[in-house]
Symmetry: C3
């Protein structure tokens, strides 16, 4: 697809500064721009690139003032970063969409599929599964019996969803995601071996949830493990059985949340953090990377850091003290020396 600077400026409600008829067909980073591509400059740290870029068009902030000649046509907009995100969407929408049900997929007779569904090769759809409208299911996906998939949801290649789990609308699940595997529940026996506790609940994922590659969300022992609307999970995250994650909470890669913990709304949990089971974490909480949360957090809006996690300000002060502990030990040595010199016991 080809667009002129004039057409793009109209779409972005911006103003052309240069040749309005120059044509572009793809997006590029400013440092990698080639003729026929459009790029953007939002961060002043990258300004040097605009004088050297090969891109035909660069989207800049309204008030951008260059200090050297620029060969590219500029499009001036209110917020260059936001406008560029918009361009990403425009170009993305132009990709041919996958459609149709592959003759190499397997669909149980009792399953129901909505309108305009793509079901890729070697995907398996179990008994009584219900797939909504405009759903995109890539190859090699597994949907166990009684699974429900909401409208406009995308399941990438190789997603596995165990029986009875429910996925909302406008969700995106990336490759290797496993939804509804058995929770990790065992009863210890007199002989030191363990007996499996049947995990008969399910996982319920509400609308607008995105789940990163190879993340695992276990089914509840009874009832549901719940991921509420708008939650964003990165890759390789572990969500244990009976966990509940509140609306619009964001969790970064490799975090683990242990069983039955409830996390509030609008939280941010940074990478590789761990949260112990059976806790509550209040709304709007921020947990730092690699933290270990071992107590419930009752007050909304706090920030926590460290393992075990403490209030972030205190954690940062402690980190400084720890960096200098060598010095602290020397100071205590010196105090003892002076004390002994003065008054030996």
């Amino acid at each position: 697809m080809e667009l002129t600077a004039r057409q793009i400026a109209e779409t972005l409600h911006g103003r052309v500064d240069g040749n309005p008829d120059v044509i572009v067909s793809k997006l590029a980073k400013i440092e990698e721009g080639t003729p026929g591509s459009i790029s953007f400059l939002a961060n002043p740290l990258y300004e040097d690139y605009i004088y050297k870029t090969g891109a035909s068009i660069v989207v800049v902030n309204e008030n951008f003032e260059g200090s050297h000649p620029i060969s590219a046509t500029l499009i001036r907009v209110e917020n260059a970063y936001t406008s560029f995100a918009q361009l990403l969407e425009i170009f993305n929408r132009l990709k041919p969409a996958k459609s149709g049900i592959s003759p190499y997929a397997f669909i149980s007779k009792s399953a129901k599929t909505g309108e305009n569904v793509y079901l890729g090769e070697f995907s398996y759809v179990g008994e009584d599964v219900v797939i909504g409208n405009n759903v995109t299911i890539y190859p090699q996906v597994y949907l166990g019996d009684h699974v429900i998939i909401g409208d406009h949801t995308t399941l990438h290649a190789g997603v596995k969803i165990y029986n009875d789990c429910v996925i909302g609308s406008h969700c995106i699940l990336h490759s290797g995601v496993v939804i509804g595997a058995d929770g990790f529940g065992f009863a210890s026996q007199p002989g030191k071996e363990y007996k499996k506790i049947i995990q008969s609940g399910n996982v319920v994922i509400e609308d607008d949830v995105e789940i990163g590659a190879n993340t695992t969300i276990d089914r509840a022992t009874l009832g549901s493990t719940k991921i509420h609307r708008g939650v964003k999970l990165d890759n390789l995250i572990q969500i244990a059985h009976n966990v509940e994650i509140g609306e619009n909470t964001v969790i970064v890669a490799q975090v683990g949340v242990a069983g039955s913990t409830k996390i509030g709304k609008n939280c941010i949990i940074a990478g590789q953090a761990g949260i112990v089971g059976h806790l509550s974490v209040a709304d709007n909480t921020i947990i730092g990377a690699q933290s270990g949360v071992e107590k419930s957090i009752r007050e909304s809006g706090g920030a926590y850091l460290g393992s075990p996690a403490v209030e972030a300000g205190k954690a940062r002060r402690n980190i400084v003290h720890l960096r200098n502990i060598d010095n602290l030990v020397k100071r205590v040595n010196e105090l003892e020396r002076r004390m002994n010199k003065e008054k030996p016991e």
Copy 2:
């Protein structure tokens, strides 16, 4: 399936307190109970729910005494929690079992399958594979050449087992598990690049082992990576080449065990812990969450915590001191102030 309170009480060796003819067809958490469901109350913290639950039957401890009227029929048993685990199993057993070999699976001619095997769609069975009796293999599973699968084992959708690996009886492997990928072994070369060391061993998993979703167990360089009988592994765990894990050891999600380490029997390793390679960990050891074990543990029955891990009691005292290090620094400041005032050097 429908059961009366009387039938259930008989199975659980309990006593009906209320209407013995009330019928239930499913299990529910006490706070989510609806008519037709059976729930349980074991933890006194949840007692309030029993006065409000919509469940038709609640299983309680023998000596439970309510403080308000209860509409549900009670079944009194010795241990409400254990009885409920039993009910989970009873209801689970009633689910229709999958059976038969799908015409959409691929089985090499030299493979052998036992009696009463389920082999799902798009699963692949390599040369000389031996599958025991009563084995359940969901869709999209991969069994490399010469793999052996014991009786009554279940492989969930998408499990991948490389050639020559051996899985025992009564095992459960969840979706995304990878058994037998190459161990991480490279020899550094003069030019700073690395040369792969061929990993020609295998993985041997004994009976009654359960392995959580997306966990990876690498094949040995030579010989076998060994997971002994009764081991329970949670999700997203990394077991490196030539590791050995003793009977009935339990490992929680996202733990990593580096190459050639031997872990004893009946250990518990909590989430996100890491264990360095070439160590021995004694039987009955407990390792805390996020710990980093860098030395062998020779004595049986200890508990360890922290990174690097130390004896748990000491680790907990250190944690308290660290939380108060700000205060310790102030105390040293004050000592120096007083010392200097008294006798300036």
Copy 3:
């Protein structure tokens, strides 16, 4: 395949000490050797095993002198470990190679495959994919549209590669690897929900890269996430969008590298470490296990440890001080006691 001691000695440029006609057909660890197998002794700690081993041949260092009688034939070589790695390769090369394109694979009409390609059952090859010569693709692999796979590369069962990604020559990707899933990019909205930022870049993996089971590498927002030549990644690693990893860098299991970080050449990053986004890590850097790197590392050749990571020598001293912090607190208590006794304020 069967080989005599004489044949093996010739291949290894070694010298037979014992029966040159003894025949072996497999490799074994020295402690597990049985007649017909060949083993090696490189580490003197294992010397005891050579007097007891059932192996028919043992490869030893040239100057090895036994202190007891040895029944096995010895092959004396310059470096027993290196020679054994060579033997692993020789025996490995003799395994029958997979070949041919399965009629149960799906190949889009516009895809191109080179010569001598193995494409396993239930693998999916998208539009305009280009597969080089001598490529081995096991069952259940997914190659999205426009993917390019270089010569002599192996993709194990169940690898998923999203559209537009590029894999070099002589690469090995293990089961469950996901290449090119969307980077974790969202713009927060006034209502506290998040809007997805389209991830329209790709992943480029150069030659001689090996990637462990269930590792995930996300596609760039724009441009490419880059894994340079000779990089070795272990299992369950997370590489975020727009990351770049320099030549011959080795990363151990469960490490996470956040978005846009650039890691230099010849680095070693130990297990479970995490690296914050938008950093630079210099060439030849070593990062310890479970470390958390939160600042750029500018100087080549350093070693870092801890969370947050500091220079390794300092980190180790701090660890010793921390282990003894209980003692430090007691010393401060004692100083205060003496100070107060002497001159109470």
